[in-house]
Symmetry: C2
Subunit: 332 residues, 2 copies
DNA sequence: CCCGTTTTTGGAATCGATTCCAAATAGCAA
DNA sequence: TTGCTATTTGGAATCGATTCCAAAAACGGG
């Protein structure tokens, strides 16, 4: 039982392929009677237009690709949920792929844009070098989310990471923090921006950073614990710690708590992202909320403009507002 | 600067389109000199074969689609990481799509298999009715992971949920549990199987279930808390609770702890999945480990067989071994 | 140097849906 | 009925890569 083609439908319905195609695409130039015959034939043969043939002729796929290293963070899955919903609203399908940080895989996936497998690309923390992102974005529709290359070669949607880190650090200062430490991650660009914001807030308060600890590679719960252990080894403990993500903050809180310290009384801890872990931690984490879902929606909208409006400028940046969420891990 | 075609490459290289195609596909019947000329022309024009034209002619895409409601669980992201790695090993690209539980979206995505956008489909907890899954799997390559329809219409890969729940419940009994409650989820089929396993273990121990609580809709941390609150309202507290997922167990532990109870001394709590939350919980959760990554790999391998071996039987089931992980939330 | 093999090449046909153009039909007024 | 416009239709051309077949070139042995 081979696949039915538009020819088969035409034959069964007793019309020409042109008419079948017109029915398929809702052209008004079809008589009511032919439309019925064609519809019946389509149902009878359970016919589906073959995607590759259609894409070839139309020169577009109505598909976009969203790329990330992993899917294990709630921020990513919320961003992509936003992308997916916005895409569906516009009749697009959004596909997601994870590269596992493998550069070759990532190249292969980006090639899906270059070879016309998809019409647009949304990049979340690419592995490739900035200039490669720029090169791809030069001629094709690419939008970055959250992690954005310095050069404004492509379009990007994110919060202002520097400002957000500044804000939450100021909160630590205003609630009595004097010896401020940070546990961060230099790998990601956003991590570096958060470090900048932290340093600026500390400096403006007339203080200087107590300890700056940076994790290599994986940056999760265990990294948070082991970096917090380093804090404990020091002679003078900091009285406030800003962590680059909630998960790390949760690990940090756990390690401090296990060592008999009270959070926030002995030491305040702040996270970043307002992920589910922020509420699951004891005490619940003070953190910065990223509007992840909304960022995804905006990213797709921007992408759509670039895909459909010919002269749309391909570079630039949209910042979405972040929000300080004060909970129990810092002094009220 | 329009896209270069195989014709352009042929012209530039001074050969025929046939030769270009042969170089592209590594056919041995090409002289060294033509190969070089073609390679040079390809680089010069930065040519990429158009996916839709290639797919149309070849009648396959080398792409598979992995479908799930959400991507917010670590089990899913691990399963899909396994699928992605196994696919890459075989030269396939695996794309992921989330349906947000929207039936129409799901239909549209499943149609990608029927209209040849992808060669195979991996289903994780579909929204559609069982018979629809069967109908699709009848003629096309479909493999289910984790959540598997009763009827053995399609192929499935999962752990033995009933047995796993049985095992962890037995553990609760063996560590002194006499009044056993369960917090579960009837929506998912795996949830019902886990309930069966729980009931069987309780019954075999000569006991009867204390309380059976089932969440509707969202089944996360807050659901765990609010269902645990119901436990607290009862006159006699259970001395052991089996929760359908770690997140729910974490919520449950939190609510009980906040109420001044000691876990596991006053009440033991067990989870399911061995997700990251199991280790982040205080006390760390006793749970059942699903070999999620491995399940993803196996699912793709099974799918590959179905896609490439013509007569491969399309139904059946592979169970992967689960593992009881005993931590501090139950008595040692 | 010629003939039979083997290797390499060119080019037309093909995949299936869309679209354009010309032709046919319908509809309407006079 | 005739003539004109408006609607509907058929069918060929097209998109770009692959593949098959026949032709051409290269090769080797005698």
């Amino acid at each position: 039982m081979a696949r039915a083609t538009v020819q088969d439908v035409a034959r069964t319905a007793g019309v020409s392929v042109g008419t079948v195609s017109r029915v398929l695409n809702g052209s008004p130039a079809v008589s009511e009677s032919s439309k019925e015959k064609v519809t019946a034939a389509i149902r009878q043969l359970s016919y589906r237009p073959l995607a590759s043939a259609r894409d070839l002729r139309r020169d577009r796929t109505m598909r976009v690709l969203a790329l990330a290293k992993n899917l294990d963070s709630l921020v990513i899955s919320e961003v992509f949920r936003g992308v997916g919903d916005a895409a569906a609203d516009s009749g697009y399908v959004s596909l997601i792929a994870a590269t596992s940080g493998d550069l070759e895989r990532e190249q292969q996936l980006v090639d899906m844009l270059r070879n016309g497998s998809v019409d647009g690309l949304i990049l979340f923390s690419p592995t490739m070098a900035d200039e490669d992102v720029e090169a791809v974005a030069e001629h094709l529709s690419v939008v970055q989310v959250c992690e954005i290359v310095d050069a404004e070669a492509a379009f990007g949607v994110s919060i202002d990471d520097r400002q957000a880190a500044y804000d939450i650090t100021r909160h630590l200062v205003e609630t009595g923090g004097r010896r401020l430490a940070m546990i961060g991650n230099k790998n990601a660009r956003s991590g570096r921006l958060r470090e900048e914001g932290f340093r600026q807030a500390v400096t403006e308060a007339g203080l200087s950073p107590d300890r700056m600890l940076f994790g290599e590679g994986s940056f999760g719960f265990h990294a948070g614990r082991s970096l917090a252990r380093k804090l404990l080894e020091a002679e003078h403990l900091p009285d406030a710690v800003f962590c680059g993500t909630d998960i790390v903050a949760a690990g940090c809180v756990r390690e401090l708590t296990d060592a008999g310290l009270r959070v926030p009384d002995d030491i305040a801890v702040a996270g970043f992202d307002d992920s589910a872990q922020a509420e699951m931690c004891v005490p619940e984490l003070t953190t910065v909320r990223q509007p992840a879902y909304e960022m995804g929606r905006v990213a797709f909208t921007e992408l759509l403009t670039r895909m459909t409006v010919p002269g749309a400028h391909r570079r630039g940046r949209t910042f979405l507002p972040h929000e300080l969420v004060v909970r129990d891990s810092t002094k009220g």
